[in-house]
Structure formats: C-alpha cells, structure tokens
Amino acid sequence: MKRIVLASLTLACLPLANAAAETRHFAISWFSQATYSNDHDCSQGVHPAVEEVYLRYAAKLGATPQQVAEWRRKIMNGDEVRDLDQLIMNRGRIDGKPVNPYTHPASVVDLSLPGLDGKEGFGFDLDGKGADQPGSFQDPETKERGVDHNLYRALGCTRAFRGSLASRPTYWAWAWGQLKDSQPAWLITLEGADLKKDGPVTVGIDRAYEYLRSNSDGSPRFDMAYRVDPDPRSRNQFKGELRDGVVTITEHGKLRLLQNPLVSPEFNLKDVHLRLELKADRSARGFMGGYTPWRPIYWGIAGVGFGGEQQVTGDVPGFYHLLKRYADADPDPVTGQNESISATYYIEAVPAFVKDAGAPTPQVTRR
C-alpha cells in the first residue's frame, strides 16, 4: 500500500481530528445496476424476445391473427418484415395518429409485462422500514433484509438487464463499455486517520478530467493519475466509517455527477448509501444505493432507438411503463406519480493517484 503524504504546512496546522493522515484514491472501473438474476426470480417468466413483443404490439394495434401468424413465420425464416417494422417504429398513438414510440413512450400501449418478484437483491434498506416491508429484498451478501431496490424489480425480468456481478447484464456491459471511454472517470477518495484501522472516514466522489485508462487487454489500469474536475456539479463528500475493511457512508446526502448523454447527462442519487470493500490487491468493490429519478434512466435507454432496441435493450417503451410502475419515492404533488426509484449500483474501482486540478503534485513515499 502507498500513502500520499501531503507535505503541506497548512494541513499540519489544522486540528489533528480534521487532518487526514492517510488518503486513498480510486478510479471507478465498472459501474452498473447491481443484479442478482437466478432461475426463480421471475415467476411469470423472463420477458419474451423483442420480436415476440413486437407481434403483441401489432395485435394490440389491430393486426389480424393471420397477419401476426404471417409475420411470425417470416421472422422465423429470417425474412424481412418491413411492414411490421414500420408499424413498430411508429407504435405510439396520439389522437389516433402514429408517433415515435421512443420519444412518446406514454403514447404506447402498456403490455403490462411483469416485474421481478424474487426475494434476493443487492442494496440497502433505504426507507428504514425494516425487514418486513412488502416488496423488499434480502441482500445476498450482507443478508440484510428490507432492501429497497425497485429498479431491479422493474427491469429484472427483461433480458438485457438480467445478469449477476460475475456475468454482466448485457445492457450495462454495452453501456459501460461506451461510457468508460467517452466520459471522464469517476473517482473515489477515502480520507482517514489510518485506513488500516477502523474509524471515521471522509468519502469523496468526484469526476476526473481524464478518461479511465485501460490496459492492453482492456482491463482497468492500476495506479494511473487523474485530476479532479473542479466543476461543482461533480464534487461530492460524505461522512462515513471504515469497519473491517468496508467503508460505509453514515450521513446520507445527495450525489450528483456529470455523466454522458449516451446514458444520462447526469447521475443523481438521493439518500446515498455505500458499502465499499477494500481488497488486498489495493482495488475496491462494492455497492452504492439511493433514490434516483427514473425518467433520465428511461431517456438513457430510449436513446438507442429502433436499432438498439432490437440489438441490445429490448422493448424500450416497455421500460417506461415498468419504471413508472415501480417508482417508489418522490411523489409528484399534483399527480401523485412517484418520480424516483430505489436503485443500487455495483461498482469496482482500481487504485489511482488523484489531485485537484491545479494543485501541486503530491510527494509519494513507498512504505
């Protein structure tokens, strides 16, 4: 382990309790919704393939059973179905007229595809309602009950969002693969008196100027240097504690990070929870949870359009209805519609050197 010793008189003059004697930095090298898919979590089955969903839409939009059967036959044969494609690409209806379903998802008929009804899911008891709260999960790692993670309930039975920590969900593998090379890296900074011992810590979560740097085999690179972007929209600090090598946030505030329009222009999380395990190889992994606005999640998915819907995500407007249905926080005062959804993200991070942009380079001593 390395320590960064800031040879600063200013720091030396601060009261000891406020002086961070040890700092560790990380660059987030993997970020995705935390999923725990298994054979028993979708009692009504995993959502059908997108072609089958299209045929259901077609039926709802007035196609005859013969038409649907013919389209099914053609799809099975690998033949083109341009008339079906045209219908699906404009399956929204406003005043009876076809509209783009991705930009007008509310205009698309809700197929009422089911959400996940399994018992286990990663996350935190965000609302503090405890173990017996209906619809809550038990965390498979901590065994904590009363876990709120409705984003997993909403999307957990759709094919692109199924996966585990080891077997990445298709959507997130695709999205993170795009994001990590197109948005500046996200950084985690831990400060504490002695990060080898239990005690209070400060957790900083910021955005870098630089992209995450990868190795020649695509794996994230350890020990790269990143500068912190001073933009206040991506500066976050929380009080937390380190216990048995696991960092948690003890004062749950708001997190805001600039992201990438590919997924979402911003990542916002309210009532932030963190459980970050510091590993022996100097990397870290863990979970970050809270409530996040669900509409930006939809727009991030919707950006893929008709092509991406077929290739990656599956039924896009269906996500709109699922997210809206499972949203569980921040009700709109007029409509009563919840605008946020409980969510937990799985993160992996590699050790990094970090400094504020413009600050002098810290001296490093090897111990």
Binding site: E210, Y211, S216, F222, D223, M224, A225, T365, R366
Partner: protein, 574 residues
C-alpha cells in the same frame, strides 16, 4: 503513368544508378609499403534507417513520409554501427529503397513542397528546363552524396530528368524521377570513404575532404554533412587542425549533437530490439505498445539529461534517480504523473526524481532495460545479467550449449522452487551451464524486484524476493547496489570509450589503435567522464581520418554473383 512510360523511367533510373556507382566507387590510390604509422582500413557503411530518415528530414523537411521498410541491420562487436560496414543490400531491399526513393522524390517536388525545395521556376511546367533542373539537382545532389556531383554525374541526372519530362510532359515529374534515382544510388545509400595520399605521412593515406566531413557528421550528428561543413570541406579546411577544430566546435554546440548521442545510445543499449519486443498481455497488462515506446524514450531522456543537459559524469546513467516519465509510465512505476494538457491530448513528459530509498536508480532499473532483457512472460536474471556484462561492460558472454534444456526453469514451481534464484540454483548444477550462470545470474538477481515488464514487486509466486547480488567479487544488497557497482567498475569506462570510438570509425578499433584508446580513456577520466569531451577528442583524432592499406584479397576468389558464375560456366563449356 502508362506501363510503357513507367518501364522507360525505371530504365533511365537504373542507368543513372549504374553510371553514378561507377563514377563514385571507392577510389583507393596505389600506395607504397614504406609507411610507418598504424591506421585502420577505410570502410564503406550502409546508411542505417535512422541516418536515412535524418538525411531526408535535413534535406527535404520533417513532413516527408518515407513509407517503406529498411533492410535489417547487423550487430557486430556490440554495435550496428560496426555491422553497417559489413552489410550489403539484397534485391528485395533494393526494391524497398527504390520505392522509398520514389516516394520521397515525389513528395519533394509535389505542389506542397516544390516552392520551398526547388529554388527556381521552370520556364514552362510542361517542358524540360536544364538551367532550373541543374540548379536543383546540383544542390540536392551535393547534400545527398555528401560531395558535389561531378559534371558527368550531373549530366546523367539532367539527361534523365529531361527525358522523363519529355515522356511525362511534366517538368517536376521529370525532376522527381531523376531525384528518385539519386536516392537509390549506392553513392547515397552507402557512405563511401575516398582516400588520398597523406602528405604528412609519407606512404600513408588519409580521407579526402568530403570523406572527413561525412566521418564527422555521421559520428556527431548521425546524419549527412550540412552545407556549411561541405563548404569547409571544399575549402580544404578540414585537413587543417584549426579548420577541423572550428567545425567540430560548431557541430558540438549544434542541437543536432543530441541526434548523434541518441544514435550511439540506441545502438549501444540495443534499443533497436524494441521493434520486436512483446509481452504477454495476460501477465503484464500495463505493458502496452505506448508503454514500450515511452519506456525506451524514458531511458534515452535519462541518458541525455546526464551526458548532455547536465554534462555530468557518464557513469551517473547507472545511478541517477532523476528521470522523465509520462502518465503511462507513471502507472507502471506506481508514481503520480499527472497530465497537464486537456483530456485526450498526448501525454507530456515530466521530470521525476525517485526518492533515495526507492529501488529505482539508474537505467538498469528502468522499465526499458528490465523489460527488454526478459522473455515475454517472465523476468530473467540470466538475460539481464548477460545484458549488463555485454552492454555496460562490453564483455562477451558465450551462448548457451546447443542442447540445454530450459524446461525446469520455465516451470515456475519445479522442485518446489518459487523464485528465479531457486530455479536457477537447480539449473546451475549442470556443469556445462554453471560456468556462465555463475558470472551472470548474480548480477541479474539484483533486478529481480522488477518483473518481466519492469514493474516493481516484492514477491515471486508468493515467496519473498532476495535482491542481493554480486559482480566480480563485489556484493550488493539490491538494484541500487548493482548500479553503484557498475559506476565503480573501470570496465564501464573502457566500454564507452571503445564503443564510441568504434562508432566513429565504423569498425572495431584495431590492435594498433590501443594506444589511442588508452589516451582517450585517460583524458575521459581527467574530464570527469564527460561524454561531450570524449566525443570531441575522438572527432579531433587523427585516427579517424588516417587510412591504412587494404587487406590483401584472398587469391582466386570469385565475387559471389550469378553473372560471374554463369560466365565461368560458359567458359568451362567452351
């Protein structure tokens, strides 16, 4: 261009090549046997790839794309610069040079460059203009051939340019085709030494004025003489002590000196081997192509900082903690090297000094050396130890026996051995292996804290690494101790003097030149091992410019060409 026209232009080019080769072939005037001084033979060196690039850049500018591949060089007595006098050009290589020459020439006269490079405008762009062509070809030819073109040479090129212009209907294309043939001429591709009787040593020979200029410039700048040096040669200044000193002083203060010093260390450190360096990405994921390029440059910058920027003791290259790093390298060295430019901009080099207690110090501990002298999947005390002896001390280590088996060493845990030291201990029990291993492995053990890609480690296969080592009876605790031992080793001084001299001569110094080498070494030590001082003394040495008689050719030896053999056979049939 039509096929017929191309064929014709090629024929013209080939004719010019032959004609020029005939005129500029090495001219060794007959000499008597009564000379009493010792001097080595003249040499003819093939341009190295870097020299070719430097000349093109010097003559035509840095934006000319060569777009070709060079013949492989050959290392002799530790240096490619010595091997350059023992290589030829294969038929396939000649095709490459021809293609490069055509590419360079086409760019030099294209619309983007002609206004800058061609010093005149033709009367008509579609017709031959001998006056303008003469002006351009004589100017460029002097720089490429390192001496003024003879009237016969120039006339041949003018005829070729004129004929090509007539065929193509384009003055610049004609000029370009003539220039292309110049670039594939032996007079350009080979640095020939033309000798003349030495008036100061009766019966002896010396390089002629222009050969002196080339000797100087390829040694100090790794490129062809500039116009000023050629003018000094034309005026006969280089044959006078004062004139030679004036030019050497000018060249030593030129920014191009760095080019020459770089070339020496690239050769001496065998950095040409970076072209084939690869690491197993699964084992050393940080070692990217960029990391390799940066590592090579890091060591070059470290060396140049010691020997040129700071003009410090040469031996400091083995101990200095001052270096230069990029963010890419910072990750491998596990130290913070932050970008300074905007995101996405190229990484900048930044000075960095390793702490006194850091295991890094000197070029032997840098990624370039440790990674270059390791196999793709692991480190190697043997290869590293051998490289230290051969590169830093100029010693020769024999190759392993032909029937040696590496299987036990390759097996990381053979006989319960976890570390390379343990595995090599078992390997060294084989009598035919132990002789060499005992003089090279203990050197390399000191570098075992650096894995096969040069990253620091304290364990191997879970076992702690013991970095103690020994060289020629001097023991040390770690890599820093090895660097200090090399610093203190007199062989390191002798090594750089010998190799630098060999580079300047283009050949290995002869037995008769030992006295000169001893003097160089003594003066080098007196200067505090300042490399520029050594280079200057070499550049001013008579030994560089005196030439002895050629060795007698073996009797009845036929030149190994098909044409001759065929002729012999025909005679036999008659």
């Amino acid at each position: 261009m039509s096929e017929a026209k191309m064929k014709k232009s090629r024929l013209i080019g080939a004719a010019v090549v032959v004609a020029v080769a005939a005129v500029t072939a090495v001219t060794l005037l007959p000499g008597s046997d009564d000379h009493k001084f010792s001097a080595g033979p003249s040499v003819t060196r093939r341009l190295t790839a870097e020299q070719y690039r430097n000349i093109v850049q010097d003559v035509f500018g840095g934006d000319i794309d060569l777009g070709g591949r060079f013949e492989p060089d050959m290392r002799v007595d530790g240096l490619l610069a010595v091997g350059a006098s023992q290589v030829s050009i294969t038929a396939a290589g000649m095709e490459q040079y021809d293609a490069m020459g055509r590419a360079v020439a086409a760019q030099a006269v294209d619309a983007n460059h002609r206004d800058m490079l061609v010093p005149c405008k033709p009367a008509s762009p579609v017709a031959a203009d001998e006056k303008c062509a003469r002006e351009f070809l004589s100017k460029v030819g002097r720089l490429l051939y390192r001496r003024p073109l003879t009237e016969e040479q120039l006339s041949a090129y003018l005829t070729a340019a004129s004929e090509a212009t007539r065929i193509t209907g384009d003055f610049y294309q004609g000029l370009g085709l003539s220039l292309a043939s110049m670039l594939s001429s032996p007079s350009f591709l080979f640095v020939e030494q033309i000798v003349e009787p030495d008036p100061e040593h009766k019966g002896g020979f010396r390089l002629d004025d222009y050969s002196v200029a080339a000797q100087l410039s390829f040694f100090l700048w790794n490129s062809a003489p500039d116009s000023m040096l050629l003018s000094a040669a034309a005026a006969g200044e280089l044959q006078t002590r004062r004139g030679l000193e004036r030019q050497v002083k000018r060249m030593m203060t030129s920014p191009r000196l760095e080019q020459g010093v770089r070339a020496f260390f690239v050769d001496q450190l065998r950095f040409d081997e970076f072209e084939v360096l690869a690491k197993d990405a699964a084992l050393f994921p940080k070692f990217s192509a960029q990391a390799a390029a940066d590592a090579r440059e890091q060591t070059m910058k470290t060396v140049l900082d010691v020997v040129l920027t700071r003009n410090a003791d040469y031996r400091e290259i083995f101990t200095t903690r001052k270096t230069f790093l990029t963010p890419e390298l910072g990750a491998i060295y596990q130290v913070p090297i932050f970008k300074e430019g905007p995101n996405g901009s190229p990484d900048e080099w930044q000075p960095y000094e390793f702490a006194a207690d850091d295991p890094r110090g000197g070029i032997l501990t840098q990624v370039a050396f440790t990674a270059l002298h390791s196999p793709a999947g692991r480190g190697s005390p043997t290869l590293r130890g051998k490289a230290v002896r051969e590169i830093a001390l100029c010693q020769t280590v024999p190759p392993p026996p032909a029937d040696v088996s590496f299987t036990e060493f390759e097996n990381n845990t053979a006989h319960g051995a976890s570390t390379a030291r343990e595995r090599l201990a078992a390997h060294a029990t084989v009598p035919s292996c132990s002789g060499c291993h005992k003089i090279i492995d203990p050197i390399g053990f000191a570098l075992e804290n650096f894995d096969g890609a040069g990253e620091f480690r304290t364990t191997e296969n879970g076992s702690p690494i013991d970095p103690t080592g020994e060289i020629d009876g001097i023991s040390y605790r770690d890599a820093g101790g090895l660097g200090q031992a090399i610093y203190d080793n007199p062989a390191a001084v002798t090594c750089v003097v010998d190799r630098l001299s060999a580079r300047a001569l283009g050949r290995t110094p002869m037995k008769e030149e030992r006295k000169w080498l001893r003097e160089l070494r003594a003066d080098f030590e007196k200067s505090g091992h300042r490399l520029p001082a050594l280079m200057q003394e070499i550049a001013l040495s008579d030994a560089l410019y005196r030439v002895g008689p050629p060795k007698a050719a073996p009797a009845n030896r036929l030149p190994p060409t098909e044409e001759i053999i065929t002729a012999e056979l025909e005679r036999h049939h008659e």
